[in-house]
Symmetry: C2
Subunit: 631 residues, 2 copies
């Protein structure tokens, strides 16, 4: 038995940090999204997504509205709603999900085809423009929704999805073709894992195998539609790096192009490699993971630095104030890291999930779950953000909704399915990846995990199990001076690649207790990152910190943190949750001067500096913010 993730259905999160956030999703965000999709929220961006399905089912008339990939909003909502039902039974939600699935079913054409844009607007052109038209992308998301509902015990959408997937296999087994925006591969892989039908796995692998073999494929196969920009953007087929078609996937060496595309591709590659044992594909995934982690990632975990084409750029080009760092890309990076764990049990993947979850992904959401960032900058200057060319994508406050509404549902499906990221197992070993409180039903029995994480450095595993097996616990990469007690007795265990391996004959009631300090850490970037030269970032446990104007006595841009400054932990910052650990230190601020340029080195004044978790920024008074602080 190879290593498998323990599915969401067998893991129940009970965690002071994450449970309230899951509850926000089930009680606030997912219902709100549904109302958005149904155009029932006054003042919000018009969605029209449900109405598009009604029109495709012949139950309404009018014009298609929205992105060519508007269907994916419904699919992602269905997926998140499925997880929501698993977290918290809700008959009313279940009824609305059933209605939505039935509506989706009525849009499916007899041959299995399912896409409202083409059904309503250009039935003659389906599967003609794979570069821009996102039919395979929308299908991939629908497949993921079908599998999620299947896991929640509801199979109607799964049947629709199998017909859709069969239709896609019919078409693309015979005819060449690759998706312009990767995602179908993930959907097919998950459908294979849910159904055991290996036709779907083969199709996923075929899409991967074909990609980049003919770098000019889209150039030769994209019809000219003067004046029509399907995606609301303008991507030339000749930009083959944009959608990762410039080289075969196994020959990729660096992440480039559209970040979400790149990361969905990698997630699929990692999954297919784990299923098929494709060593070259697994190697490519490891290379790309290393490239991103070591050369193209912000300290918050944000990836896809460049607003132009929402893309990776080149190594070490990581400007904080123009960071794009799409929330979806951090969600996708979490998917990718999780997929890697199936083939390669290395703590660096779990560390990466942790980094995204507590920082770049979580910052996408307002603390109350009602507003979302698309872009997650590391520095905000109010004079520039949202106004000046080069900074127009940077916002100091989360918008209520987005015309391109990909990020909120992506975050919703990640957070509601978080239980599925906690554990893996094979015949002999149970792997715990994340220090998030939960009850898990595993093959060897039940394990109950309690923890004070991320604010406190302790975790306690209590087993309801009998028998010999190995419990492998991921120790976060930042932990030093770990104390391990098994049934109250200090233990060393065996450490390998970020995991603590504890093998013994376990009895019900046995406990494993971890204790570790959570000192404030000063982080420095390597010298190639010019934006971070001479600067320091603060972290404590998995949480990266930032300075917000509302907490400071001097302008954020003027603050300097001396190397020797003592940093104190504080709680009770007004407007933030009581248990949130903030940091207070005595720093300096550069004094104002009259001249733009002066021969006088600016003087410094002593000032208190307060840092708050990055994920919590932009929840109070709007103002300047920075993660990197001049040291």
């Amino acid at each position: 038995m190879s290593i498998r993730s323990v599915p969401l259905s067998r893991v129940h999160i009970r965690d002071d940090f994450w449970s309230p956030r899951q509850q926000l999703m089930t009680d606030v965000t997912i219902p709100y999204m549904e109302r958005i999709l149904r155009d029932e929220v006054p003042g919000a961006e018009k969605s029209h997504a449900v109405e598009n399905f009604r029109m495709a089912a012949g139950e309404s008339s009018g014009a298609f509205y929205g992105m060519v990939f508007q269907d994916s909003d419904v699919a992602k909502w269905l997926e998140a709603a499925a997880y929501s039902l698993m977290l918290k039974p809700d008959a009313a939600l279940e009824k609305r999900v059933d209605e939505m699935v039935a509506l989706v079913g009525r849009c499916q054409l007899p041959d299995g085809y399912l896409n409202t844009y083409f059904t309503v607007r250009e039935p003659e052109n389906r599967w003609q423009n794979l570069l821009e038209c996102h039919e395979l992308y929308c299908a991939g998301h629908m497949l993921e929704a079908g599998v999620a509902l299947h896991e929640a015990g509801k199979d109607e959408l799964l049947h629709i999805c199998c017909r859709l997937a069969d239709h896609i296999c019919e078409r693309f087994e015979k005819e060449e073709g690759i998706p312009g925006h990767e995602e179908i591969e993930i959907g097919l892989l998950r459908l294979y894992q849910a159904t055991g039908n290996d036709r779907y796995l083969r199709m996923a692998k075929t899409f991967l195998d074909r990609r980049g073999q003919e770098p000019d494929w889209f150039i030769r196969h994209t019809p000219a539609h003067p004046g029509i920009h399907y995606g609301g953007y303008d991507i030339l087929p000749a930009d083959t790096a944009y959608n990762q078609t410039d080289v075969p996937v196994r020959a990729q060496h660096a992440a480039r192009g559209h970040a979400v595309r790149q990361l969905y591709l990698l997630t699929a590659m990692a999954g297919v490699a784990a299923e098929t044992g494709d060593a070259d594909m697994a190697d490519a995934c490891r290379r790309l993971f290393a490239d991103i982690r070591q050369r193209q990632m912000y300290v918050t975990g944000a990836v896809g630095a460049c607003a132009t084409h929402e893309s990776f750029t080149v190594a070490y080009d990581l400007p904080g104030d123009r960071c794009y760092g799409e929330t979806c890309a951090s969600v996708a990076m979490t998917f990718f890291a999780h997929a890697m764990l199936c083939g390669d049990m290395d703590g660096k993947y779990a560390d990466l999930m942790e980094l995204e979850l507590y920082n770049a992904a979580l910052s996408g959401m307002q603390l109350d779950g009602r507003r979302f960032f698309y872009v997650n900058p590391l520095r905000v200057d109010m004079r520039l953000a949202g106004k000046v060319a080069g900074y127009t994508h940077v916002l100091p406050r989360r918008p209520a909704w987005h015309a391109c509404a990909c990020c909120p549902p992506n975050l919703a499906r990640l957070l509601t399915s978080l239980g599925g990221y906690l554990w893996s197992e094979d015949r002999d070993t149970v792997y715990s990846h994340l220090l998030i409180g939960n009850d898990a039903e595993l093959q060897h029995g039940r394990i109950h995990l309690e923890t004070g994480y991320p604010w406190k450095g302790w975790a306690k595993y209590t087993l309801e199990a009998e028998g010999e097996f190995c419990l492998a616990i991921h120790i976060p990469g930042h932990v030093r001076n770990l104390t391990v007690r098994v049934c109250g007795e200090d233990t060393e265990g065996k450490r390998d690649k970020g995991y603590l391996y504890l093998r013994r004959r376990w009895h019900s009631g046995d406990t494993v207790e971890l204790d570790f300090p959570l000192p404030v850490r000063r982080l420095y970037a390597r010298r190639e990152v010019s934006d971070c030269a001479g600067k320091v970032a603060l972290a404590r446990g998995p949480v990266i910190y930032c300075l917000e104007a509302v907490d400071q006595e001097a302008p954020v841009g003027a603050l300097v943190l001396p190397q020797e400054a003592e940093i104190r932990e504080i709680q009770g910052i007004p407007g933030l949750p009581d248990d949130l650990v903030a940091l207070e230190m005595t720093g300096e601020s550069v004094a104002e001067q009259d001249e733009l340029y002066s021969e006088r080195r600016p003087e410094r004044e002593e000032h208190k500096i307060v840092a708050v978790p990055y994920f919590a920024w932009a929840n109070r008074e709007t103002g300047d913010m920075t993660v990197w602080i001049r040291e």
Copy 2:
């Protein structure tokens, strides 16, 4: 008698620094430009400018080619050629100028209209699209050329220009209309100064008076031409700040929009204010000068930070690595500062001219006069420059020629007419603005100035004059510890707003000697300039320095200059002129580290650092460069 600039015809530059550069212009650049305009340079961007004139004159057939303002290249060349003839008689050049002027004359229509684009391509549409079509802009440059040739003793183009100006007055005295790109106002002002015909001054003032009175003027008066972008760019009439039509010119408070437009407007405003005594207009000029100098200027003098629309942005938004800093904008800033001196004898204007001339303007030109920068960044990272979105305008090497060839001729006309920027006089006083060696014929006699500037801190004025008058010498703002000797005797003189006033009865052979140290200065930006936080720039005399990769032992981005480091002057850098003063210091470089982010503060290694004058960068091996150095 109000203060007047002493015209170029009465000033002869003899200067170790500038004379060779003027010679490059007369011997290399101006002949090269002419061959470009005639499409005689294999491999260079096609110009077609002369051919457009031939077609407009009915002497050739074919299609107009180039920018809608391609005529201005010919006008700017004629202006530069006029100055060249004043610097150095050249019968062959004079003959070619005469032929070019005759060709221009043959293109003029009977009513005085002169523009090849509309004559060849859209005769029915002349004066219809003032926003985009640059007819008034091209006319303004032709007027400047006509005045320059008049100053060189050749009046044929002046007659053509008077007919053109009369035609413009006929049209725009009666009908509303403002230029989309300012320049006609400068041309009309200079034509007034050359001819004494105050109709031209009134017309210039009228264009200024109208501007911004109706912010929607261009919105109402720009015809829709689907698919035609006259300028090769896409500016919406609604962007009223782009061309400074959002507020009346006297109500302007901050520089914004297209930098060259803003600065040509200000140059005209300053000139018209000085001619008419318009105090409100003069106040607006002073406000805008202060805004640019104190909030929107790079330490090199570069202005117009933003590549998008080649524009000013907001206060303190001065990123070095994405700096646009068009050469034309620095040339225009020199014009503006010079124009201000006529109404307000303040050394800050002369200091600004000096800053532009020795730095941001001069860096536009390769040392051999054969290649030109359009964009003048303060930091170049070879991994990004010219490649990555946001940096595509930044080049590490001057191109051979440009499709939009505005900068080389603009620099050529500035450098060849430099003599006209050195002196002003009124009835009682002679003002020396710049420490550039020259012989000047002034109303009170001749003055001969020798100087070791910019490398050595001495200057010597020798008078051939008899009588009482005041000699006012601008002392550069960076000078401390000035020694003044008049006829060998130490003198204090009177100092006011950057000028040293020496009043006495002068006799032929009298001398004024200035001596001052030129220490290396460390410059700091005010705290609002985030890109310069914790960094220092080096200057010596008027020259700003930079670090180029070719001179360093460690990567430019890794270098750190300790606060206490001693900085030594050196000469003889291979590949640079022998007399050029470079700087050598013992600095540090941040050590390489393996991890992108690390808890270990990076170590430092001791390294020699060499700084060279910014104007001389990109003349040797291509590589990283920075003006601001981490301190």
